[in-house]
Amino acid sequence: MAQPVKLVVVSAGLGKPSSTRMLGDRLAEATGRQLLDRGVEADVHTVELRDVAVDIAHNLVTGFPPPGLRAAIETVTRADALIAVTPIFTASYSGLFKSFFDVLDNSALTGKPVLIAATGGTARHSLALEHALRPLFAYLRATVTPTSVYAATGDWGASAGAGDDLAARIARAGGELADLAAGLPRAAAAPAAEFEEVVPFAEQLAALRRG
C-alpha cells in the first residue's frame, strides 16, 4: 500500500458537541473510505479551533504563535489534504475560522487539496461557501474540490436513503478529495465514446468552404 495520506480536519465549531465538528468527521470518514477504495490509507487529524481560540487572538496581537497554535499551524501546513469546516455567521465564515487562516503563511496551503464545508441554521446561506470560503482558499492557492458541503439544521434529521441529499453530497465531496489526495485524475465527466463522433473543427470548416 502507498504511504498513508495525512488528512486534516479544521473545525471552527464552538459547541460541545458541535454540528460543525460532526460534519467534519463525516467528511473525513467519507474521504478515508474512498481513499481505501483507491488503495490508500488515511491518517486523520482534527484541529478544533475552539481549543486555540485565545492563542489565535494573542498571535494576531503579538505576531508569535503560542505552542498550541504553533502545533495546529504545523498540522495544517503539513497535511496532504484538508477538510475546512465553519459555522456560517452573517452570511460568511466565522471570525474564528478567518482569524486562523489569517495567521497562516500565504504559501501554507499552496497546491493542497481542500474540501470546504459549512453548517448553518437554514439552507439560505449555502452560497457563503462559494462566495466567501472558495475565494479565501483561491487566494491561498489551494486546490478546492468542485463539490462543497453545506449542512443546515434540518439536513441532520434526514434518514439515510434515497432522500438523503446530505449523505450523497458528503460521499461525492469525499470522493473528489480522495481523488486529489491520492493523486488520481478525477473521473471523466463524460464517457470517451461520446467524443468519437465529434468531427474536428478544421474538417467542419473545410466542409463549409467546399459548400
Binding site: 485565545v54 487572538a57 494573542h58 452573517t90 482569524s99 487562516f101 462566495h131 466567501a132 475565494p135
Partner: protein, 177 residues
C-alpha cells in the same frame, strides 16, 4: 447630529486601519456628529471568541452598537478579505444589529488588486446584518498612510469626499430616527 461609532478590526495597536478610522472619525466630529471609536483588539479575546455575553466589556461594546445611528466599519485586508478580528466582533452582534443604521465601510490594504474585497467580501456581511444603507466605501492603499498617523492627501481625498457625503446623509431628518 448623529451618534456614530467607528469600529476597526486590526489586531495591531499602531495600524494604518486605525489611523484611517480615526481620520474619518475626526472629520465626522468636525462636522458636528457625536463620534466614538471601538477597537476590536481592546475587547477581551476570551469573551469575544466564545460569545460570552456575561462579560461587561463585551456587553458595553454591544450597547454602543445598539445606540449608534451610524457606524464606520474599518478593516485591514487579510487574504483578500476583511480581517478575522473584525469578523469576531460582527459575529457576536444580534442577527439584525445594523437595522435602521447607516454604514460607511473602509478597508486598508497593500495592493490595489484587493480593492474589490470591499464590495465582494465586506458589503455582503454588512447587508446580512440588516443595514439600512451601506454607503459607497473606500479602499485606502497603505502606502498613503504611515502608522505614525501621517496621510498623503492624494490617497485619502476620495475617502474624505465619501465621509463628507456620509455626514451629509446623516443630517437628513429621515436618517436619524
Amino acid at each position: 447630529m448623529a451618534t456614530v461609532l467607528t469600529v476597526w478590526g486590526s489586531p495591531s495597536a499602531t495600524s494604518r486601519t486605525g489611523v484611517v478610522a480615526r481620520h474619518v472619525a475626526a472629520r465626522l466630529t468636525a462636522d458636528g456628529h457625536d463620534v466614538s471609536t471601538l477597537a476590536v483588539r481592546d475587547l477581551p479575546a476570551q469573551a469575544l471568541l466564545h460569545a460570552d455575553f456575561a462579560d461587561p466589556d463585551l456587553r458595553a461594546a454591544l450597547a454602543r452598537v445598539a445606540d449608534a445611528d451610524a457606524l464606520v466599519i474599518a478593516s485591514p485586508v487579510y487574504k483578500a478579505a476583511y480581517s478575522g478580528v473584525l469578523k469576531t466582533f460582527l459575529d457576536v452582534l444580534p442577527q439584525f444589529a445594523l437595522r435602521g443604521k447607516e454604514i460607511l465601510p473602509v478597508l486598508t490594504g497593500g495592493t490595489p488588486a484587493h480593492v474589490l474585497a470591499l464590495d465582494y467580501a465586506l458589503r455582503p456581511v454588512l447587508t446580512s446584518l440588516g443595514a439600512d444603507h451601506v454607503a459607497q466605501g473606500w479602499f485606502v492603499h497603505e502606502r498613503f498612510v504611515s502608522v505614525e498617523g501621517a496621510m498623503e492627501a492624494e490617497g485619502v481625498a476620495p475617502l474624505e469626499e465619501l465621509a463628507d457625503a456620509f455626514s451629509a446623509r446623516l443630517r437628513r431628518p429621515a436618517a436619524v430616527a
